[in-house]
């Protein structure tokens, strides 16, 4: 290995309007190392990665690639200099095949234009370095979100880059798939490739990194050696203060047994998605549904919400049988489902934060002359403080907020609607640790007021932290229903696999 770093960032600053997204950030990525960048939501990680991959241009500061100064006007220019990114959000072409998604823009040519057999062969080569099970001829849209994410990573490697940027790569992956990714990163490193790694999962940061940079409010606050780092130290650096507890499991109350059942699901089946699911949700309880992606947990949530009809089985709310043929039926019965893909299914990006919060309760804001905008801003204000929702102004577009704050706003939407049963599908995915704890604590608080929650998550630790009971699903089947304080992560996996 030569001593010239693969990439150097020198004094980069970037402003959006009046807000400093990045302030004088410098960072060195050596050849053959995994360099992690951590920070809370809104700390500037994505902006920094955007600048490195050519999606954004810095206001001041420079980039050096292999010792030479460079300027990337577009992602294309960064790619031709050997820098590729696997972005956090899924950005795929759902109608095209997996092979084409990997090779797009670089399809090999034969005598008569693109050679499809060659394209497929090459795509397979790249994909199989990461995952051997995905068929490259499947249309991309038919894959699960996790597999799409793996394909997206394969696409980044297909550009022959020697600097790869991973922005929250494991947010959608289950542990098994994440393991495959880590193996790939290790091999890539051995070949002399360098990796910039952004993640909220501190365990994997510790496991993977050769060096760690911490960003806070757009500034680089520390560079730490993973050998000396602990989770507590990292969290404190990210937050800039002492964070009291990493685990809130102590907060959960016991003895829910006597409480009445609010939601009863009996032998619910939807062919090809899940079968014979039965459980009771008690008042004030958090029931977690744990399972890998593809276990049918999201489909179950959608079915209860009336997005898809069940083939058989019964659903009872407060002892009365209900049939939800559309979400508005479910909402009327006080049952709300918060979708997994918040950007696609939950957010109105152009509307203000206040409107996003109030949109499910608009009938309350009807005035003589149409909707009362002022009232919406006023009525949503309490949620800003109670949920620690950080926004400069309730009337700015919600798309300007960070992911964690967007998620809080969507939860506030349904709290305003005053529902009894909340089904949350991966509510803390892609959110930084502190925002995550805040949301978890908020949910606990809400259950004290009588809200009942079904909490869907693929993160085992989180499931153990927040829930009273856990329903384990695997490949559409219910594998068990256990009390949270009687199990461990290992036991949960065991239940799922046997």
């Amino acid at each position: 290995m030569s001593d010239i770093p693969a990439l150097e960032v020198h004094g980069v600053s970037k402003k959006f309007g009046n807000a400093h997204a990045l302030r004088d950030v410098s960072l060195t990525l050596r050849k053959g190392e995994v360099h992690s960048v951590i920070g809370e939501n809104g700390a500037g990680k994505s902006t920094l990665m955007g600048i490195i991959c050519g999606r954004l241009q810095p206001d001041t500061g420079t980039l050096q690639r292999d010792g030479k100064q460079v300027r990337f006007a577009s992602p294309r220019e960064a790619q031709s200099s050997g820098i590729a990114i696997a972005p956090q959000e899924l950005n795929v072409l759902p109608m095209l095949s997996v092979a084409e998604n990997i090779m797009i823009g670089a399809q090999p040519r034969g005598t008569f234009g693109i050679s499809w057999s060659e394209t497929r062969k090459l795509a397979e080569q790249f994909l199989h370095e990461i995952d051997e099970d995905i068929d490259t001829s499947t249309p991309m849209g038919e894959l699960s979100a996790a597999h799409q994410q793996l394909v997206q990573i394969a696409r980044a490697t297909a550009s022959h880059a020697d600097v790869l940027i991973f922005d929250e790569p494991t947010a959608m992956l289950t542990d098994r798939e994440a393991e495959k990714l880590f193996l790939f990163i290790a091999r890539f490193k051995q070949r002399g490739g360098s990796v910039l790694y952004v993640s909220h999962r501190l365990n994997e940061i510790l496991e993977l990194s050769d060096s760690i940079s911490v960003l806070r409010d757009g500034e680089l606050v520390a560079q730490i050696d993973p050998a000396e780092a602990t989770k507590e130290k990292m969290v404190n650096l990210m937050a800039g203060r002492e964070v009291k507890s990493l685990h809130i499991s102590g907060l959960r109350k016991q003895n829910n047994d006597q409480r009445e059942t609010v939601l009863s699901v009996q032998n619910l089946t939807r062919k090809g998605e899940f079968e014979d699911i039965s459980f009771d949700l008690r008042k004030g309880e958090i029931l977690a549904i744990s399972g890998l992606i593809g276990s049918g947990r999201t489909e179950l949530g959608k079915c209860l919400f009336g997005l898809q009809p069940p083939d058989s089985g019964k659903v009872l709310i407060n002892g009365r049988e209900v049939v939800h043929s559309s979400p508005s039926d479910a909402i009327q019965n006080g049952l709300i489902y918060l979708p997994e893909e918040r950007k696609k299914e939950g957010l109105f990006p152009l509307l203000s934060v206040a409107e996003n919060i109030c949109i499910a309760s608009l009938d309350r804001f009807k005035g003589l002359f149409g909707l009362r905008q002022g009232a919406m801003v006023k009525r949503s204000a309490p949620y800003f403080s109670s949920m620690k929702l950080k926004a400069a102004d309730p009337s700015i577009p919600i798309s300007t907020l960070s992911g964690g704050n967007q998620q809080k706003a969507i939860i506030a939407r349904w709290l305003m609607k005053e529902c009894d049963i909340l089904i949350l599908d991966e509510p803390t995915r892609g959110i930084d640790v502190n925002a995550k704890f805040e949301i978890q604590a908020l949910l606990t608080e809400l259950t004290d007021k009588g809200l009942s929650i079904v909490f869907i998550s693929s993160e085992l630790q989180e499931v153990l932290d927040v829930s009273d009971r856990i329903l384990v699903m695997h490949e559409g089947k219910m594998k068990g229903l256990v009390e949270t304080n009687s199990v461990t992560q290992e036991r949960l996996l065991q239940i799922a696999m046997t």
Binding site: R55, R76, M95, S97
Partner: protein, 328 residues
């Protein structure tokens, strides 16, 4: 999904699988509909299948068809080009004037007219791609501008006569196929190849399928968009000048009636208005279906007024079938 997927997955499949694959292709529904329609018309009006009638039908279809092919590309990137009809008329008039006023060689007139039409299309493309303005509004405006310029130049009078040598393009046949029909088929073959086997073509599908993804993988989105509108303009001009040659007259009003049938043909053929989905084969079949419908009704002496009602109904049925198929 697209025909490419079926091309890709051909290896190692049994005959039964192949039959199944054929029935999963997007264009198969419209092909069956076309065959059924032709059979039905033939039963009532046997001279539908006569060589003469088929020549008339396909020649009539080829002008709208050329525009529909360009429109398909535009729809695939998630755009729309409303200016094509006005472009056809304006380009035809400009081409006819080159011929009559400036005495340009007839063989040169056609490429020059196409270049002019492409220039008009590139204006659309440059505004839409670089300023990210809504294609609907931009092409609505240029539609008016092209139509207006046309009237300014011609004051509403047709440019004629164009001369026997030039009229050969619109009126002659090779191997029994009228030249406009041959042109239409040739363009369709080239575009099918380009969409399936060139990066330019695949980039078109990517942009329509997910623009953000296309930018992130380094596709020069603005450039592809620019050329797609350019091609649409070029094909509109080709249709216009061939029609002028066929009629021995470039009429200022000619293309106005072509816009809606062209979009309709593409949609019946399975092209999605939101981009990313559609095939050239589908559009060709859609064009033929529309032409057969119109021709059949005139053979059966159905009033021309009813024709529009029927065409609208067909579009609705096509969209419904697509909806049912996708839900399955």
């Amino acid at each position: 999904m697209t025909n490419i997927n079926s091309i890709e997955s051909q290896s190692g499949s049994s005959a039964m699988d192949r039959v199944k694959q054929v029935f999963r292709m997007d264009a198969i529904g419209i092909l069956i509909a076309l065959i059924v329609l032709c059979a039905a018309i033939t039963i009532v009006a046997p001279h539908f299948l006569s060589g003469y009638n088929l020549t008339v039908l396909t020649r009539q279809a080829s002008f709208v068809g050329l525009i529909a092919l360009g429109q398909t590309l535009v729809l695939l990137i998630g755009g729309i080009d409303l200016s094509v009809g006005a472009n056809s008329a304006l380009s035809a008039v400009v081409g006819a004037l080159l011929l009559t006023m400036y005495g340009v060689n007839p063989y040169l007139v056609i490429p020059l007219t196409m270049a002019f039409g492409m220039f008009l299309g590139l204006i659309n493309g440059a505004i839409i791609a670089n300023m990210r303005l809504s294609p609907f509004i931009v092409t609505l405006a240029t539609w008016e501008i092209f139509a207006g310029l046309n009237l300014v130049i011609t004051e509403g009078y047709p440019v004629r006569p164009l001369g026997a040598e030039f009229n050969w393009f619109g009126q002659a046949s090779i191997l029994g196929l009228p030249i406009p029909v041959l042109t239409f088929l040739l363009v369709a073959v080239i575009l099918t190849w380009a969409l399936g086997y060139t990066r330019f073509g695949r980039n078109i599908y990517s942009i329509g399928g997910n623009r953000t993804a296309a930018i992130l993988v380094g596709i020069r989105v603005a450039r592809v968009e620019l050329f797609v509108y350019g091609i649409s303009g070029m094909l509109a001009a080709l249709a216009g000048i061939l029609y002028a040659s066929r009629m021995d007259s470039a009429q200022p009003s000619v293309g106005e009636a072509w816009l809606m049938p062209a979009i309709t043909a593409a949609i019946i053929g399975g092209t999605s208005l939101s981009g990313g989905q559609g095939t050239i084969v589908g559009t060709v079949l859609g064009t033929l279906l529309m032409a057969a419908l119109s021709n059949g009704m005139s053979l059966l002496n159905v009033s021309g007024f009813w024709e529009r009602v029927v065409v609208g109904g067909v579009v609705l049925i096509a969209v419904l079938i697509d909806f049912i198929r996708r839900r399955r």
